[in-house]
Symmetry: C2
Subunit: 303 residues, 2 copies
Amino acid sequence: MKLLIVGSVAYDTVKTPFGRRERILGGSATYCSVAASYFTDVAVLAVVGEDFREEDRAVFEEHGIDTRGLRMHPGGKTFHWQGEYGYDLNEAHTLKTDLNVLGAFEPELPESLRDIPYLFLANVDPRSQLRVIEQCRKPKIIAADTMNFWIDNRRKDLMEVLSRIQLLLINEGEARQLSQEFNLVRAARKILSWGPKMLIIKRGEYGVLKVTPNDIFATPAYPLESVFDPTGAGDSFAGGFMGHLAVSDSLSADHIRHAIVMGNVLASFNVEDFSLGRLGSLKKEDIENRYQAFRRLTQFGEA
Amino acid sequence: MKLLIVGSVAYDTVKTPFGRRERILGGSATYCSVAASYFTDVAVLAVVGEDFREEDRAVFEEHGIDTRGLRMHPGGKTFHWQGEYGYDLNEAHTLKTDLNVLGAFEPELPESLRDIPYLFLANVDPRSQLRVIEQCRKPKIIAADTMNFWIDNRRKDLMEVLSRIQLLLINEGEARQLSQEFNLVRAARKILSWGPKMLIIKRGEYGVLKVTPNDIFATPAYPLESVFDPTGAGDSFAGGFMGHLAVSDSLSADHIRHAIVMGNVLASFNVEDFSLGRLGSLKKEDIENRYQAFRRLTQFGEA
C-alpha cells in the first residue's frame, strides 16, 4: 500500500562532537520518506523555498518518492534548523530555527494524492495535521508525531488529532508531558483513552516501547560504536516502521513488532552519518543483515 | 553449584513518592542473596551490629541462606543508609550514610565457606574484594560490582580486582566513569581489555546490556505500572543473574541470556514494594510467569 508522509523538508546546520555540517538536507519528511522508500511506494507533502537545490530534489526522485506534493513557495526560503549535540547524543540543543516558508505552510493535498491509504503526519502544527486528515478520502491508517511545543500551545487541536488517528509516535518526555504521568505505562494508558489504538514511545538510545490495550512490546536500540549525528533518528524510525507496516498492510501484533524493529534498523543506519550520508544509500541486504543482527542482539529462549 | 555473596546488610530509611519506611532491612548482600536463593544454594558474608534484629536474621534462614558468614560485630551498629527518590526513580538521593560496623569491615571467610565455586562481590571496598578473592580456594567464577566512590578513590585496587574476575556488573554511569568513554560499546571494549571476560551494564528502567568480545545482548527492563521503591533493584538483578548462572553452571551465550533475563525478573519484583515486601515472598510460578511475560514483551520473528 502507498504511504503519504506530511512534514518538513529542511536545511540543517548541525554540530556534533564528531564534526559540523552547514545547510545539509534534513527535515522530518525527508528522513521519514527516504527510510520508508526501502519498503513501499511513498509520496511526500511538504514545502520548500526558492533556495531549494535541484540536487536535493533529485534525492527524493532517486528513491522513487512521489514529489508531486513537494511544493516550492515562490519568494521564500527553505526552513532552516541549527542545532548541536554534546557527547550525550540523546539531547539536541537548538541554536536557531528559521521557519521561513514553513511558517505559512497550509498543506494542500494535490488531487492525485487524496486516495493514499496510509498516512503519516510528522511533527507539524496539529491544525495542519487536521487539515490533511480532512483532505484524505480513504485513509486506512493514520499515524502522527508531535512535539513539546504543540503539547503546550495547541493542546485542544492536538486532542482533536488524537481522536482521529490510530497510531501516535512520540518520545518519552512528550508522553509524560502530554499525559501528566511520570510512569510510562500509566502515561500510555491515559493517552490511549484519548483515541489512538496504539502508542509508540521513542526512547532514543534506549529503544522503543509499544503499548496497546492488550500488549506491550519493548526493544532496545541497536548499540553502535560510532554515532555521528542523531538528527532524524526518530523520523527514520517512523519511516522504517510505517513503510514496513504499509507494505505488510496488517496491524497484527506480529507485524507491528517486525515494523518496530525495522524502524530501529533504519534509525540505526541514519545516525551513522550526517544527513542522508548513510540512510540514503542502503542496499536491501544491509537492511536484512541488520534485522538479523537485531534478532541476535535481543532474542533468548526458554530458561 | 553454591554461590557465595559478599556485601552489605543494612538498615535503610527510604522515601519515595509512594511512601516512607524507617530502618527496614536492606543492603546489597540482602537483596542479592534473597534473589539468588530462588535458584541455588547461597551463603552470605557480611557484618551487622548489635542492633540487628532476630527477625531480620530469620529472613535469611527462611530462604535457606547459609548465615555462618553473617557476623555480628560486638559494640557496633548496623550500617544505615538514608535516601530518597523523586518521580524519576532512576536516581537515588543519599541523605545520610552511617557506615557503623561496615567502616571497619575486614572480611574473614570462615573455613567452611572457602571452597564455594561461585563468588559474587557486591559493591564494597576493592581492598575487601581482593581479600575475599585471596581467601577463596577454588573459585570457578568470580563476579563483582563497584561504584563511583571506589572508581574515584581506589582505582589501583579496583584495577587489580578487574584483573582477577570474570564478570563485572556495573551501571551505565559507572561504565562511562571507569572507562572515560561516553559511547557504551567503546566503554565496554576498554573495560574488557582490563581483565573481565564479560561486562554487564545495568541501565535502570532501560534494562541491561551485556558485552563480551564476541557478543552483545540487550534487554529492556520490565515496564511496571507501579514502582514503589527501586532500592536494591541492581542487587536483586545480580542475585537472580548469579543464582541462575550458578545452578546452570555454564557460561554459554544462551545460559548467560537466560540468567540476565532472570536478573531482570527478580529486579522487577523487587521494585514492587519496599525492602523484601515482594522479593521475599515469591513462588516458583511467579518467577516462571514473569519470565514468560518477559519473552512476550521482547520476542519477535523473521520480518
